[in-house]
Amino acid sequence: MSFGAGFLRHPDLFPARRAGEPWGDRALALDVAGGPYLLSGLTTAQEEALRRRFGSLCGPAEANGTATQVFRAPATDFLAIDTRGWEYTLDLDPAPDALQVAGLHLMARLGWTPALAGALWTPEPAGEEWTSVCENYLRLLTAYRLLEEGGALLHSAGVSDGEWAWLLLGPSGAGKTTASRLCLEGGGTVLSDDLNAVLFHEGTARLRKLPFTGDLGERAGGPESVPLRAVLRLAQGEEEGLRPLSPAAALASLVAAAPFVNCDPFRRETLLAVLERLARAVPAWEVTFSREGGLWAMVKTIR
C-alpha cells in the first residue's frame, strides 16, 4: 500500500513543506529527553490539555529546542477507521532529509534543514484526542532526537533501585507491564513500562525517564536519570533464570526494540552504531520469569 493510503483520503495532498494554517498563537516547551521540544501554533485549549497531560514538564517556549509547528487539518482528510481489535502503527515514509508520517488524525513531517524540525497537522482542537495525537507524534520525534544525541528510544520497561537501572526489553505482550509490577511489588521503582530513553553521559549509558507509559501509567517521583546496569530480554516460562546474551543477540533485541527509527533505512547506520555502543557498554541477559516469582530479586543480582 502506498504511503498514507491506510489513513488518508488524499495521500496525494500530503504536505511537502512545513506550512499551513496554525490552530492558534500559543506555544510551550516540553522538557523531555532529547528536548526541549517546542510546540507552537496551539490554541489555548490545546495548550491547557498538554499542561494537564505533561504537568511540570511544560515550560515557557523561550528556550532553544526542537521546534514543531502545529497546523489545522480538516477531519475530512482522514479515513474513518474501526479501531476495535486493531493494532495501531504509524505509517512512515522516510527520505534522506525528511520523514513523512501518517496516522490516526495526524499527518506529520520531520525535516533536517539542517537542524531537525517538525510539523504536525491534525483536526483535533482540544481534549484527549488532541493529547493522544500529540503524544504519538512526540514519541516519534523523541526517537529521532535521541538518535541525533547518540542515544535511543527503546520499547522497554525501565526499572531501578534508585542507584542503578535495568532495561527490560520485549515486544508488546512479552510482559513489560507485568514485569514492572513485579519489580514495584518487590520494592523497586519504574521509570516507564513502555518507552525509555537511553543516553550516554560522560561515557556512561544512562536511562532517562519519559512520560510515555503503557498500562502501568505514569509513576510520580522516582529518579529521572539513572546509570544503566544491564539490558534484559524478557521471556516467560516455568523455570526462572538468567542466561547471558551474546553481543549480537543483544544488538538484535535492541534494534527490534527501537521503534520508528528501526524502519528508517536512512538512519540505520546511525542506529546500529548507537545500539552497538550500548551493547558493548552494558551486559545483556535473557531473563525468564513467572508471575509469581521473584523477578526483582533476580534483577538486582545483576551488577
Binding site: H10, D12, L13, F14, P15, A16, R17, R18, A19, G20, E21, P22, D25, G41, F71, R72, P74, T76, D77, A95, W121
Partner: protein
C-alpha cells in the same frame, strides 16, 4: 466594443473585476523559490466567511475568481467553494501544482467546479530539474501523467513556468514538451523575493543569457505562430495579461483586482503584499470602498504610470510591476534590476530581429 476599453473603465472607476484567493499555504510540493510567507499567522477564513465573500463579490459584479495557494486543493472546502463560485457565475481559474489532480479528484473538479482554466506549474523539461525545484521526487513523472489525464477529461489546462537558473537551459525542451501535450506554456522570466522579504529565491534568478535565450525563442516562435505553433507569452503584471487602452494608472492592482490570503488579509495584487484590510474586521465591499490603504495604492499606480512613463520610449519593455518593485527595492516606484535587465534583453533581441528581417545590401 473592446475588452481593453472595459478593463480601462474598471481601472479608472475602481470596479473590482478579478479576485485571487490564496486558500491555504499547505502544499504537497516544496518549491525552492515559492513566494509564500510561511511564517504568516492568523485566523483562517471559515467556510461561512468564504461563502459570504463570494456572495459579496457576485454582488459587486466581479468576473474572475482565481483559487490559489499553497495548493488550493489542500483546502478542506476547495470543492465546495469552487462549486459555489460556479453557481454564482464566476469565471473560475485554479492555480495548482497538479500533483494531486488525478482520478476522482480531477473528475470532481471538472464536474463540480467546471473551471475556465487550470494553471499548472512546469519546472523543467526533465525529472531531474523539475524535481530539484519542487523538492519532491517523482513529481515530474506524476505531473506528466496527470496532465494527460486532465486533457483526456476535457479540462482546459495552461502551463506556467518561472525561468530560473536551474531550468533556463531547458526552455526549448519545456516548450517542446508543452507542444507535445497540446498545452500553452507561459514563461515568467522573473523570480521574486518571498512575501516576507526573504531574498533566498533570488539565488536561482535566471542569468542574463537565460533571459535573452527565452526572448529569442519567444520571438522565433512568434514568427512560427502563423504556422500554428502554440502561442507563448511573457507573463505580464496587472489584470490577467490583458493590455488595456491608455489610462492614468500603471496597472489594475487595487483598482480592478485584489488578492486575499488564507487569514483574510487583502492585498492590491498577489505580487504587491501591502495589506489594505482584513475580512475578519470588514466585509469586502466596505474595504473596497473605504480602505485608506487601497486609496493610497490607487494613487501610487498613478504615480507609477508617471514614473515609468518618464523612462521614455521602451519603458513598457520593463514590464514594471510595483509589487515586485516594493519587494525588490522597498518602494513600488523604484526601478529594480530584473525589470531593467528585461528591458535591455528585449531591446537587444528586438535589434537582432530587426537585422534579421531587414534586407541586407550587398
Amino acid at each position: 466594443m473592446s475588452l481593453s476599453r472595459v478593463v480601462a473603465t474598471a481601472w479608472r472607476e475602481n470596479l473590482l473585476f478579478s479576485v485571487l484567493l490564496e486558500l491555504t499555504y499547505r502544499c504537497n510540493l516544496d518549491c525552492f523559490f515559492c513566494y509564500n510567507d510561511l511564517a504568516l499567522k492568523g485566523e483562517p477564513l471559515s467556510r461561512e466567511q468564504y461563502f459570504r465573500l463570494l456572495a459579496d463579490l457576485r454582488e459587486m459584479e466581479v468576473m474572475n475568481l482565481t483559487l490559489s495557494g499553497g495548493e488550493p486543493l489542500a483546502h478542506p472546502d476547495f470543492l465546495a467553494l469552487g462549486a459555489r463560485a460556479r453557481e454564482l457565475g464566476f469565471v473560475v481559474r485554479v492555480k495548482s501544482n497538479g500533483h494531486a489532480l488525478r482520478g476522482e479528484l480531477a473528475r470532481r473538479v471538472r464536474d463540480e467546479i467546471d473551471p475556465f482554466l487550470i494553471e499548472v506549474s512546469l519546472h523543467g523539461a526533465t525529472a531531474a530539474t523539475h524535481d530539484r525545484q519542487t523538492r519532491v521526487p517523482g513529481s515530474f513523472d506524476r505531473l506528466l501523467a496527470n496532465l494527460r489525464e486532465l486533457r483526456d477529461l476535457g479540462l482546459r489546462v495552461k502551463l506556467n513556468s518561472t525561468l530560473t537558473r536551474w531550468n533556463e537551459g531547458e526552455i526549448e525542451g519545456m516548450l517542446d514538451l508543452a507542444d507535445s501535450l497540446g498545452l500553452p506554456l507561459q514563461v515568467d522570466p522573473e523570480v521574486t523575493p518571498r512575501d516576507d522579504g526573504d531574498r533566498e529565491p533570488l539565488q536561482v534568478a535566471p542569468s542574463r543569457e537565460g533571459v535573452l535565450r527565452l526572448f529569442r525563442l519567444q520571438f522565433a516562435r512568434g514568427r512560427a505562430a502563423e504556422e500554428g505553433a502554440p502561442e507563448v507569452q511573457v507573463a505580464r503584471g496587472g489584470d490577467d495579461g490583458t493590455v488595456p487602452t491608455p489610462v492614468h494608472k500603471h496597472c489594475g492592482a487595487g483598482s480592478s483586482g485584489i488578492a486575499i490570503d488564507p487569514f483574510g488579509n487583502v492585498y492590491p495584487c498577489v505580487q504587491w503584499r501591502r495589506p489594505v484590510g482584513n475580512l475578519h474586521q470588514q466585509g469586502i465591499g466596505e474595504i473596497w470602498r473605504g480602505s485608506a490603504g487601497l486609496a493610497e495604492v490607487r494613487e501610487l499606480t498613478v504615480q507609477v504610470k508617471e514614473r515609468i512613463g518618464a523612462e521614455g520610449p521602451g519603458s513598457h519593455l520593463l514590464n514594471f510591476c510595483p509589487g515586485s518593485a516594493a519587494a525588490h527595492a522597498g518602494s513600488p516606484l523604484a526601478l529594480y534590476p530584473a525589470a531593467v535587465q528585461r528591458r535591455e534583453a528585449l531591446e537587444q533581441v528586438m535589434e537582432e530581429e530587426r537585422k534579421t528581417l531587414l534586407p541586407v545590401v550587398r
